[in-house]
């Protein structure tokens, strides 16, 4: 069950992973993008941290919506509207259900709708889709998420900036898939699936 406390912990853990891996994420974005993914995510998570600091005892919907709005306004790249939409979908639906499998599934649908991409297009969806499938069978693990992110290496990009490279995008990890790996790892560490 997702609670406001878990989301708070989750965002702190995600922020610290993004800070640690900022240079690496931007490096991944260099050969197949514009080299800014780490900086974008760092700016976004700083914004999340600042906005969450201003809340006192927020309920689940408020905290999810605050994360969404901070990401939408601060990230600057494609990851902003995509992650932002994911959290917005969770905020919209969290009164009906707090089950991770259901909320992440709705979030994933939001990402697909926002960016028009699907599984196999070498985007963050290639981590989100297997993660949601694993949540549905109570089998989400760090190993599965890492394997999903690693799997983007062999794919040809069909969406986002990497798609302009076509076949030449093969052999590189998708930066958004790797930041999504950190997002799900942080969720597990925050006790999201206990």
């Amino acid at each position: 069950m997702i609670t406001a406390e878990i989301v708070d912990k989750w965002m702190k853990l995600f922020y610290s992973k993004i800070s640690e891996q900022k240079a690496y994420l931007s490096e991944l974005d260099t050969p197949i993008g514009d080299g800014d993914h780490g900086n974008n995510m760092m700016r976004g998570m700083q914004g999340v941290e600042d906005s969450l600091d201003k809340l006192s005892n927020p309920d689940l919907k408020t905290i999810l919506k605050t994360v969404a709005m901070a990401l939408i306004s601060k990230v600057g790249g494609a990851a902003g509207p995509l992650y932002g939409t994911a959290f917005l979908e969770m905020a919209k639906n969290c009164e009906k259900t707090q089950a991770p499998a259901e909320l992440f599934k709705l979030a994933l649908e939001g990402i697909k709708k926002r960016g028009g991409a699907t599984t196999g297009d070498k985007t963050m969806i290639d981590v989100w889709a297997p993660a949601v499938a694993a949540l549905e069978t109570d089998s989400l693990s760090v190993e599965k998420i890492e394997a999903a992110a690693a799997g983007t290496k062999d794919l040809v990009a069909k969406k986002g900036r990497a798609s302009y490279l076509g076949e030449r995008s093969v052999g590189h990890l998708d930066p958004g898939a790797v930041s999504s790996q950190y997002l799900f790892e942080s969720f597990i560490e925050a006790g999201g699936i206990e």
Binding site: S73, G76, A78, G80, P81
Partner: protein, 124 residues
């Protein structure tokens, strides 16, 4: 008199977003044209907030929006969801598409006919 339909330009680069209206204004003095470029810190990227602002500043209630790359469209869609104005987003070549629309709107061509001329410019 200002036309009923306006144009909004969205680019990752502030200078591109400021430059395209100059090209259009030359042929469409009565069309309200506003733009949004770059992130909130004027870095390369797009901002849903800046796009909302471009919608608000536009004198028309119905807007035709043109954009450059990926995230520009996503932020445009987010802004459309938050705005009261009616906005159509076109997946056409940015400069040529916006120029086509500006020229035709200035000549009071119907939206249907504008869209017919935009159709072959679809590239995304």
């Amino acid at each position: 008199m200002t036309k009923k339909i306006g144009i909004v330009i969205v680019s990752h680069v502030p200078e591109v977003a400021m430059g395209i209206p100059k090209l259009l204004e030359q042929v469409a003095a009565d069309v309200s044209i506003t733009s949004a470029g770059g992130t909130d810190d004027n870095e390369i990227g797009t901002s849903a907030g800046k796009i909302m602002d471009a919608f608000e500043r536009n004198k028309a209630q119905k807007l035709l929006a043109f954009y450059d790359l990926g995230s520009a469209k996503m932020n445009l869609e987010l802004a459309v969801e938050m705005s009261d104005k009616k906005v159509n987003i076109y997946d056409v070549a940015l400069v040529e598409g916006a120029y086509t629309a500006a020229t035709l709107l200035e000549a009071d061509v119907t939206l249907e006919d504008v869209e017919e001329q935009l159709a072959p410019l679809k590239i995304k």
